[in-house]
Structures are given as C-alpha cells and as structure tokens.
C-alpha cells in the first residue's frame, strides 16, 4: 500500500453568513406550506352551513352518508342524527353547501326519498342501492338565513318553485280520487290532485288540484272537470261506446278537464269546480251547467222519493237548472208527533235560471223567495216514460197552499214542496197501452160491420128483390111524367140521373143486386190502409149520402134507390175492404209489438229499438189523431144523413119490409156515428193520453 501524496487542500469552514448561505430550496417548504394552507382554507370555507331538519323518523338515514340533494344534485350531507329533547322527533344535522345555504328560505321543504312503488309510478329506485337521500325543494331567495326546518313525511305533490294554479274541485265522493292522481288535459298530464277531504257540510268531497303552468291558462269559467277513472261503457243511439282512460288513471283514478266553449273568464286561484261523473255529463252540463257559483237549497218531501238519486236533475220550466247533491231523512216535530221527512239538498245554478252570471247566493235566494211567493213549488216528477227515475220540478202551482222560502239559521234555505201522485213506471207505461186498448176502435169497426150486415140483409130481403119490377113500373110512370111538360122543364141533371138510374136498374136486372154487391166487395180497391185514409174516404161517402138525400128529396123513390145502391157500394167498399177489417188485428198486433219491445227493453234490450218503437208509436198516434180530427165532422154528417134518410123513408110511405130494414140499418149507422163521436171526444179531451198516458 503506498500512501498517496496528499494534495493541497483548502480546508475551510463553510461561510457562516446565514442569509448568504440560504438556499433556494427553502422555497419548496414555503410553497408546500402555502399550498397546504390554501387547501385547508378552501375546505374550511367550503365546509358549508349546518342546518337542522326535524323528521318524524329517520329510517334509512345514516350520518355521514345520507346526502341532501336539490334538483338531484348533492348539496350537502347529513352529519349527525339525533333526537329532540322529548324524543318526539328526529333531528338531522346536515352541512349544506354555502351557495345553497345562503338561498335557503324558511319555507324550504325537505323530505326523505325512499324507493316507492305505487300503482302510479315507481320512484326513488336509485335509492335501493345508494340508500335514501334527502330531497330539498325551495324557491331560492337571496339572504335566506333559515337554519332549522320541519321535514315532510311524504314528498309534496308540487315543488315550491313550480308555477301553476291551485283550484278546488268538488266531487260527490272520493272513491276514485287518490292523492297524486293525474289531471289530464286532452290526455296530457298537466297537474295532480291532493288528498281529498270532506267539505264542511259533509255532503261532498273537495280536493285541491294543482294545474301546472302553462296549462293553467286553459282554466276558465267554461272549464268542466270530469272523472276519468277506470273505463265506462255507455249504450246509446250510436251503439256501444267504450271509454278507457290512460293506464295510470285506470288504476289510481284521475280527472280530466276541458274548456268546452269559448268566452269563459279566466279563473283565479282557489276557484271551485264541480266534478262530473263522465265527459258526457260534463258536456251536457253546459246546457244548464252547475256553475261554480251554484246555490244550495233543501227541499223536504213527505212521501217516498224512490227513484230520486244524487245527481237527479232539477228542472225549472223544463230547463235543467241544477241537480240533487244529497238526499237524507230526518225527523221533524209536528203537532201529531214525530214524522220522518226526506230532505234533498240541491244545487241550483243561478245562471241557468236567468240570473246574471255573477249573481251571489243572496241574490239567488231572494229571487227564489219571490218566486215561491208567486207560487213556485218543488215537486217530484217522473224523468221519462221508460224509467222509474224521478226528477224535481220547480213548477208554478197556483192552487198550492201559501208558503215561503224557509231560511233556517243552520243549513240551506228550504224550498216548499207539493205532493203529487206519481204513477209508477208500470202504471205509466201500461196505462198508455190500456188506454189505447180502451179506445172504442173495435166497437166502431163492429158497428160498421153490423151496418154492413144490415145493409146486406136489406139487399137480400125479398122486398128488395122485388124492387126491380116495382121500379120498372115506377119508371113507366115516371116516363109518363117525363113526357109531361113539367118534367120537360126539369134540369138536364135530372135527366142524367134518370139515365143513370136506368143503367143501374138495367144492371140490377141483368146480374142481380146481390152479385153486384158481392163483386163490389171483391173488387174493392186497397185505398184504405189505415183508419186515417179510411176517414178521408168517409167524407166522400157522406157527400154521396148527402147527394142521395138531396136527390131523394127532390126526386123521390127512383133516384133514392139508385143512390142508395151506390152508397151501399161505397160503404161496402170502405168497410168491407180487407184493410179495414184487418185494422183492429193490426192495431192489436202493433200493441203486441210495443209490449214485446217494452219487455225487451225491461230485459235490457237495445235503446235503439225503444227509439224506433217510440217513433212508430208516435207516428201511429199522430195518424190516429189525424184521423180523429175528421171524426166529429163525420159523425155530424152521418147524423144529418140519418135525419134526412129517416125523413125520406118516412116520406116514402108504407110500413114495408124494406122500410123497417132500412130504418134498422140507419139506426145502426147512427150508433156507429155516436161511437165515432165518442172516440173523437175521448181523443180530443186528452190528445196526449195516447202518448204519455197521464
């Protein structure tokens, strides 16, 4: 090992000046310090504000993990879960981002979002994995400094910031209204309903409804709400109509609205709307809509109100002005003791009664009070022929005992009512047919037939057979008479009549009167299809009869015989036609058909049939009425004819067989005339009896 030769080495201590020795490396820790402090300061300044939320329970909330979200953005986290001092509620302490906390107003809402599966929707599904979170809803307001909040148990229907209009809907019941059910406008969900609750009087259900902007501008006084829950099947003239709402409203119920006519005034928040059972009734309500300012009255009835239901219409001079909103029984003290009376609460639309649209309750009540003074009474009336449903009529009843509009301190004003005899449904419907049956139509026909028989008897009588010979001699005499100067002076008309008579006599001689009559019967044309056309022909017959009578008066026997034959022909043609004979069975068949239709209806048959039947019944009734219009005239003419005929026959002289037969025939004819007159009077007295039966 060789020692290395030590080199010159400047061994000196490092310079001691601290500042000059200072290395730039020191910047690094300073920088690190600044950085760390910056981080610390930033996290401190961003630490956020501590708020307290009290909840009824804190299920699923974990301190340090449960987040607070606003519009689904995390704005804070729960730091502590504690109780109020009396352990009645849970208090969550949460740190909220400063930016958010500065805008927190006092009415901010907080609720726990949990997974929720309802018929309507599935919500909060993300919380199945992530755990619950707390959703905040508020309208940011600068300078908000609230730090303590009451949490909600359930999510509110509408966020604080949501624009829209709250209206109240009055429904008959809350069966199909579930909280949160959608409100649809032309099938689009535009709002939600809140939890329904009973009205103060308990006769309806009111539910707050929120219509979100901008759809709330469709709400006007012309708006009608109706129930779209489930589906509805209606059978009408247009066939079966099936309406199904959207699936959500099928399950949870829902309501829809539409503005059914233009010109409605915009509504203010808090307006009250009626809820109709379906769209159809909502649209029908327009004719006599129950407006938002409906006035409620009570009407007491003594008797049964079977057939009157909630929703039954109230009619005022035939116009629908309201509907029954409730029916109840109550006890009253009278001089004879306690009595049960039935009270219907009705909602009347002042507008439908002609009052101004903005008429208040007072105005409407005053109006009705004055009407009651003038004799207005409520009474029950059947809704229509084919149903046992009742309506309430507000009718002027002049002979009713005086009464005033009751104004009790509690409850609604009481409208006085009068009792009426109500034919029940069967009585009403069957009564119509009974009355139709009771009409002396068949009797009339029988009479006519017996007249025919009498005439036939006359025609077949020996005396009549002997007539031609007698007539020939009569004509011989007549010829002598004609040859005379006086006869020459007779008008040409008489000559023609004599020629005609001769032709008749010739024909009678050639074929025999009976054959002629029979062939007349056989060849009768089919002019009379019903009583109406038959009666049209009756005046012609009467004209003939009158002409006969006139001629007989002027001429005597020859003309009479010829004319009588013609009359008989015409009468036979009329009465003996198959159509005329077939009339009573046809009527009976028609009645049978109506009855069959009715029973079919009772079994739930088609309304269409009913309509058709009604139409045909009405047409038949019209025809009958038309026919009967001619009847009085007919009977009058018949009477005149008979009087003349009797005079003639008496003038004819001897009490021959023919005379007696003819007189009997004439009596029959008179009886027929009376019957016709009876029928006419019966129909005239009460033309509607055929149709409405009362």
């Amino acid at each position: 090992m060789t020692d290395p030769k030590p080199a010159e080495l400047d061994v000196s201590r490092p310079r001691q000046s601290f500042l000059r020795n200072l290395s730039f490396v020191w910047l690094v820790p300073i920088l690190a310090l600044v950085l760390s402090l910056a981080i610390a300061w930033r996290s401190y300044s961003e630490r956020g504000a501590l708020i307290e939320i009290s909840l009824s329970n804190a299920s699923g909330v974990t301190a340090g993990e449960t987040t607070i979200r606003y519009r689904d953005v995390v704005v804070g986290v729960v730091e502590d879960v504690d109780f109020t001092t009396d352990l009645s509620r849970v208090v969550l302490s949460a740190r909220i981002d400063k930016t958010v906390a500065d805008l927190l107003p006092e009415e901010a809402m907080f609720w726990v979002v949990r997974p929720e599966v309802t018929a309507q929707r599935i919500s909060g599904l993300s919380t199945v994995f992530s755990g619950v979170y707390i959703e905040a809803s508020f309208k940011p307001s600068p300078g908000g400094s609230a730090r303590s909040f009451e949490g909600l148990d359930d999510a509110p229907l509408t966020g604080v910031g949501e624009e829209g209009t709250y209206v109240t809907i009055r429904a008959r019941d809350g069966n199909r209204l579930s909280p949160g059910a959608p409100v649809l406008y032309r099938g689009i969900e535009v709002g939600r309903i809140e939890t329904p609750h009973l009205s103060d009087t308990g006769d309806s259900v009111v539910v707050g409804t929120f219509i979100a902007a901008p759809y709330d501008r469709f709400l006007t006084t012309a708006t009608r709400f109706w129930d779209t829950s489930g589906f509805s099947v209606s059978l009408g003239a247009a066939g079966i109509n099936l309406e199904v709402g959207n699936l959500s409203s099928l399950v949870t119920g829902g309501i829809a609205f539409d503005t059914l006519f233009s010109g409605g005034e915009p509504v203010e928040a808090g307006s009250v709307f009626e809820l109709f059972a379906d769209e159809q009734s909502a649209r029908q309500s327009l004719v006599s809509g129950i407006g938002p300012n409906a006035v409620r009255f009570s009407i007491d009835f003594d008797g049964s109100v079977e057939g009157l239901t909630v929703g039954s219409p109230i009619e005022y001079r035939g116009l629908r002005v309201g509907e029954v909103s409730a029916i109840a029984a109550f006890l009253t003290e009278t001089t004879e003791g306690q009595r049960v009376r039935l009270r219907a609460t009705v909602a009347l639309d002042p507008q439908a009664m002609g009052l101004p649209a903005d008429a208040g309750t007072e105005e409407s009540v005053d109006f009705l009070a004055s009407e009651v003074e003038a004799g207005l009474r409520a009474r029950l009336a059947p809704a229509n022929l084919f149903s046992s449903a009742l309506i309430i009529e507000l009718a002027e009843t002049p002979d009713a005992p005086p009464a005033t509009l009751g104004r009790p301190e509690k409850g609604y004003p009481v409208l006085p009512s009068v009792q009426v005899d109500l034919p029940d449904f069967t009585a009403t419907a069957e009564g119509v047919f009974e009355r139709i049956n009771a009409l002396p139509v068949e009797e009339l026909i029988d009479q006519a037939i017996s007249v025919m028989a009498s005439i036939e008897a006359v025609a077949t009588a020996e005396g009549t057979r002997a007539m031609p010979d007698a007539l020939v001699s009569l004509i011989e005499d007549s010829r002598a008479l004609v040859a005379s100067e006086e006869t020459q002076a007779l008008p040409g008309e008489i000559r023609a009549a004599i020629a005609e008579l001769r032709g008749v006599v010739d024909e009678l001689r050639a074929r025999g009167a009976i054959d002629r009559l029979v062939s007349a019967l056989e060849n009768a044309d089919a002019a009379s299809a019903n009583l109406s056309t038959a009666s049209e022909r009756v005046p012609a017959l009467i004209e003939d009869l009158r002409a006969l009578a006139a001629k007989a008066n002027e001429l005597g026997a020859e003309e009479l015989v010829a004319s009588a034959t013609r009359v008989l022909d015409s009468a036979n043609a009329l009465i003996g036609t198959d159509e005329a004979r077939a009339l009573p069975p046809a009527l009976t068949a028609a009645l049978g058909e109506v009855e069959a239709t009715l029973s079919e209806l009772r079994e739930g048959g088609a309304v269409e049939n009913a309509n058709a039947t009604l139409t045909s019944t009405r047409a038949a009734a019209d025809a009958v009425a038309e026919a009967t219009a001619a009847l009085p005239e007919l009977s009058a003419r018949l009477d005149a004819l008979i009087a003349q005929s009797e005079r003639l026959v008496t003038a004819y002289g001897a009490q021959s067989n023919f005379n007696a037969d003819a007189l009997a025939a004439l009596r029959e004819v008179r009886a027929a005339a009376r019957t016709i007159a009876q029928l006419a009077r019966a129909i005239e007295r009460n033309p509607n009896s055929l149709i409405i039966g009362r």
């Binding site: 020692d3 290395p4 030590p6 080199a7 010159e8 080495l9 400047d10 061994v11 490092p14 310079r15 020795n21 200072l22 290395s23 490396v25 020191w26 690094v28 820790p29 920088l31 690190a32 310090l33 950085l35 760390s36 981080i39 610390a40 996290s43 993990e65 987040t67 993300s126 994995f129 992530s130 755990g131």
Partner: protein, 216 residues
Amino acid sequence: MQTDDLENAGRTQEVLTARRAGLTGCRNCGRVHDCAAQVCARCGSRIASRDPHSLQRVWAWLAAGIIVYIPANIYPMLVTTTFGKTSQNSIVGGVIELFHHGAYVVALIVFVASVVIPIGKFLAIAYLAVSVRSAAVIRGHGRQKLYEVVEFIGRWSMIDVFVVAILSALVQLDFAATVNPGIAAASFALSVAFTMLSAHSFDPRLIWDAYEADDI
C-alpha cells in the same frame, strides 16, 4: 469514497480520508480528482469535497415533506363510489376500517407503508442532519447504515400512491363502482417525493467530518 472499508472498520480515527489526502471523488461516476477540481473530467458533473448547502436542502425538503404529510393524513385518500354510495377514507381511517373488517395483515401493511415508514424517515433524516455535528450516540458506521436504509426504503412508500393511481385508473365502472384519488393521495405522493429528495440531499460524507473534527 471509502477506499478500504474492511480494513478500517471500527477504526475510523486512524483512516486517512480523501479530504485529508487532498482528493475528491465524483459522487456520480466515482472518479477521483484533485481537490481543486470543480468539474468531473469524466462525466462533467460538479464536484466538491463537501456540499456546503447539503444540510440546508435536507432541512428544506424535510420541512416540505412534513408539511404536505399533514393534509395527506387529514384529507381522504380514496373516494370510492359504490352503487351511488360514496365513501371517503383517509389513510388512518382506512387502516382502522380494514382492522375492523378483520384484515389485520393488510391493515398492518398499509399502516407500516403509509404511517410508520414516512414518520420513521422524517425522524431518521432529522436525526442524521442533527447528529452531523456530534460524534456521539450512534457511531459513524451505524449512521451510514441508517442513511443507506433511508435512501433505499424511501421509494417503497410510493406503493400507496401507486395503488391509488392504479385503482383510480382501473375501477371506473360508472355506477357499480368508481374510485377516485383524494387530495391526500397527491399530498402523500409529494411528501414521499420531498423526503426522498431530502434524503438524497444529505451528504453522507458529513457523517465522518464530526470524527475528523474530533481529531483536530
């Protein structure tokens, strides 16, 4: 540096040091130069018999390392989102959680790598820097060993950071699970880096100067 370690072991006082011999070794390539040389003739790096700013740099880097080590322990290291549920874990919090879950070995490894080693390094470096002036307590060879261990072990502390980096890169499964590094990850990485720089700044030749000073 040490020309004949084996012979001189335990007898430091009698050794002729390079400094006394008027020589300087290049710390980069090992070539021995004359004391007057400023730049290594072979590799061109700066050479000096003793680095006059060494201790200053040690202290500065050490301070920086300690400073950033504080947020590394306060702030979350990992932000884990599993099925929408976010959890944040600081280093010690993670260790405690692992311990609660019964993963004692893993908890121990994390604890050692993230807490024991960094703090040990701070202490070791600080001790070395302080003890440069005095010859007592631990002998030169012990201190030299300590320095070597600190130098060697420093990089392993980065394991934590690597784990976080790899997890963050791999576990990005959107909804199911997401891992993101927290502020602490960056702070810890800086802390490790600063301590390594601090250890690297230490001139181990200073350890022996104390003995020479004793001699003089």
